[in-house]
C-alpha cells in the first residue's frame, strides 16, 4: 500500500468529513428537538453556495480584495441569510404541521426542497456556477511526481469546522440557551410549563442548523470552486447518512459520523473505485440501519412508560 496515497486519502476524507459533520448537525438537532427529518436541509446548504458567489461578487464590487476579509464577510453574510431562511422554512412549512402526524412534515420538507431547487434553477440558471480560488498555496511532502499534499484551503476547512463544532458544543452544554434546547428536546410540554417559549427554541435550532450548513457551504464552495442548483441533494443525503451513522439526535454523533463517512468514502474511492463511492456511502447507510439502527453514539429508543 502506498503511504502517500493513504495519507492523501485520509486528509481528503477528513476535509470531506468535517463538512459532512457540519451539515449533519442540522439534521441531528432538528430530529432531536421535534423528531422530524428536515429533508430541505441539503437545499439550505445549496442556497448558501449561491450566497457565497453573490457575497463575493458584491464585495468585489466594493473593491475589497483581501482574501481573509472576503472570506469572513462572505461567511457572515451567508450565515445571516441562511439562518433566516432556515427559520422561515420552519415557520411556514413545519410549524403549522406540528400537531399533524409524522408523515406530513416529511412531505412538506420534500416540497420545500423541490421549491428551493427549482427557484434557484429558475433565478440563477441551470448551468454550473463558479467562484475564483481565494486562498492559494499548498503544503506538500514527497518528490515531484509522488507526493502528499494539503492545500491551505483544506486546512482552513478543518480548522473552521472544528471551531464551529466546538462553539456549538459550548452553547448547547454551557449556556442558558443550550439548557433550554436540551429541556425542549427531552420534554417539550414540561419546558413550556416552566415558562420556556419552545416555539422560539425550535426556531433557533433551525437557525443554528442552517448557520452551520452555511459555514459548510461557504467552505466547500471556496474549495471546489463550482456548484449548481442540484448540489444540495447528494450532499444533504450524505450528511443525513453521517447523522444516522453517528446516531441521530446526538451532537457528537453527527460530528463523528461525518468524519467517519468522509474517511470511508475517500478511502474507498482511493483504493477501490471512485465511481462507486456514493454507492458505498449509501450501502453503509443501509448496513447501519439494519445492524445498528440507533447509530454509533445514539441511544436505543426506549418507550417511556
Amino acid at each position: 500500500m502506498d503511504l502517500y496515497v493513504l495519507g492523501q486519502q485520509i486528509v481528503n476524507g477528513l476535509v470531506l468529513g468535517s463538512t459532512y459533520g457540519l451539515i449533519a448537525v442540522g439534521y441531528t438537532m432538528v430530529y432531536g428537538i421535534i423528531g422530524m427529518i428536515n429533508f430541505a436541509h441539503g437545499e439550505v446548504y445549496m442556497v448558501s453556495a449561491y450566497l457565497t458567489a453573490i457575497g463575493l461578487a458584491v464585495l468585489a464590487y466594493f473593491g475589497i480584495s483581501s482574501p481573509w476579509l472576503l472570506i469572513s464577510l462572505t461567511m457572515v453574510f451567508a450565515i445571516l441569510f441562511t439562518s433566516l431562511l432556515g427559520i422561515t422554512i420552519e415557520r411556514l412549512a413545519y410549524r403549522p404541521l406540528r400537531k399533524a402526524n409524522r408523515l406530513a412534515p416529511l412531505i412538506s420538507a420534500i416540497g420545500v426542497s423541490l421549491i428551493l431547487q427549482n427557484y434557484v434553477q429558475l433565478s440563477q440558471g441551470a448551468k454550473n456556477q463558479g467562484v475564483p480560488t481565494l486562498i492559494e498555496g499548498v503544503f506538500r511532502m514527497g518528490s515531484e511526481d509522488h507526493f502528499f499534499q494539503i492545500t491551505y484551503m483544506q486546512m482552513l476547512i478543518v480548522v473552521v469546522a472544528l471551531i464551529a463544532m466546538g462553539l456549538l458544543n459550548f452553547v448547547v452544554q454551557k449556556t442558558a440557551l443550550g439548557r433550554a434546547c436540551r429541556a425542549t428536546q427531552q420534554d417539550r410540554q414540561m419546558a413550556q410549563i416552566l415558562g420556556i417559549d419552545t416555539d422560539k427554541v425550535i426556531a433557533l435550532v433551525f437557525g443554528i442548523g442552517a448557520a452551520l450548513a452555511a459555514v459548510a457551504g461557504v467552505l466547500i464552495t471556496l474549495n471546489y470552486g463550482s456548484f449548481d442548483f442540484f448540489v444540495g441533494f447528494v450532499t444533504g443525503i450524505k450528511a443525513f447518512t453521517a447523522a444516522v451513522l453517528g446516531g441521530i439526535g446526538s451532537l457528537p454523533g453527527a460530528m463523528l459520523g461525518g468524519i467517519l463517512l468522509g474517511l470511508a468514502e475517500s478511502l474507498f474511492s482511493g483504493f477501490v473505485n471512485s465511481d462507486y463511492k456514493d454507492v458505498f456511502a449509501f450501502a453503509l447507510l443501509v448496513g447501519i440501519l439494519i445492524f445498528r439502527p440507533s447509530g454509533l453514539l445514539g441511544k436505543p429508543s426506549v418507550e417511556k412508560v
Binding site: L167, F170, V171, K174, T175, A176, L177, G178, R179, A180, R182, A183, Q186, D187, Q189, M190, A191, Q192, I193, L194, G195, I196, D197, T198, D199, L204
Partner: protein, 284 residues
Amino acid sequence: MSTLLDLNSVSLQFGGIIALNRVSLSVEEGSITAIIGPNGAGKTTLFNCITGFYRAQDGQILLSTKHKPLDLVQLLGGKFRLFDAPWSNIKKVFYGFFGGTHLVARAGIARTFQNIRLFSEMTVVENLLVAQHRHLNRNVLAGFLNLPGYRKAEAKALECAFFWLDIIGLSDLANQPAAALSYGNQRRLEIARAMCTEPRLICLDEPAAGLNPNETDQLSLLVKRLRDEFKVTVLVIEHDMSLVMSISDHIVVLNYGEVIAKGSPKEVQANPKVLAAYLGSDED
C-alpha cells in the same frame, strides 16, 4: 385575604365525555387548597386547564394581577370565528401567534406531575437552572461571549438553585443526573423546580403518590413551608386523606367533572354528598 385564582364555570369535553362541567371555584391567596374526588373525577383535567395544558372550551380562569385579572384561557389563543366581536378575534389571532402554555407559566403558575417529569438526562442542578430560564439573560451572543451581565445572571440562578437544593436536602447530589435520584427525592426535586420559576400559585398533582409515611410527613412540612415561608399559594390534588385534612385550609370535591362540595376540611368531611361519592350512597 384576596382571591388569587377564580374559575368561572369552566367546561371541557372530550368528544362525548364531559370532563369538566361548569366548574367554579376560587383559591384564596396564601392558602393551601386541596382538590379531591374519586378517580376520573376530572381533577387532573382541571389542573391541565389551569396550567394551560388544555384550553378550556368555555368559561374563564382569572388570575388576579396588580392590574385587572388575567384570563388564562385567552393566553392560549383560539379558533378564529367570524362572528365574534372584532376585538376578541384580534386577541385570539395575536395569542395564536405569540401565545401558548409558556405565558401561563410566566403569569406565575407552576405545576408538578402525577408521573414525575424531570429532565432525566440533565443533572439535578440543571433541572433547577432551566426553570429559571425566563429570568435569565437569554441573548445568544451574551452567552457566547460570556458577558458580565450574563455571568451575573447565571451566578444568581445558581445561587437560587442551591438555595432550593438546600431546602429539599439534595445539595450533595447537585451534579448527579436527575434520573439517578430516588423516587422520593425526584418528587421533591420536582417541587423545587416548580418553585424556581418563582410562581405565585403552585399546583401539585398527587405529590404524595408512592411515598412512604416518613416521606409523606416530610412532604407535608415542605408544602406548609411553601405557604408560610415563601408566601406561595398551593393547589394540591391528593388521595391521601390524612395528608389532605392536615394541610388544607380549603377543600374542593369534584365528582364526574362537577364540584359537589367545597369548604373547610371539617365541613367537607361532614358533607353527605362527599360520603356518597366516595362510598356510594344508600339510595343508589
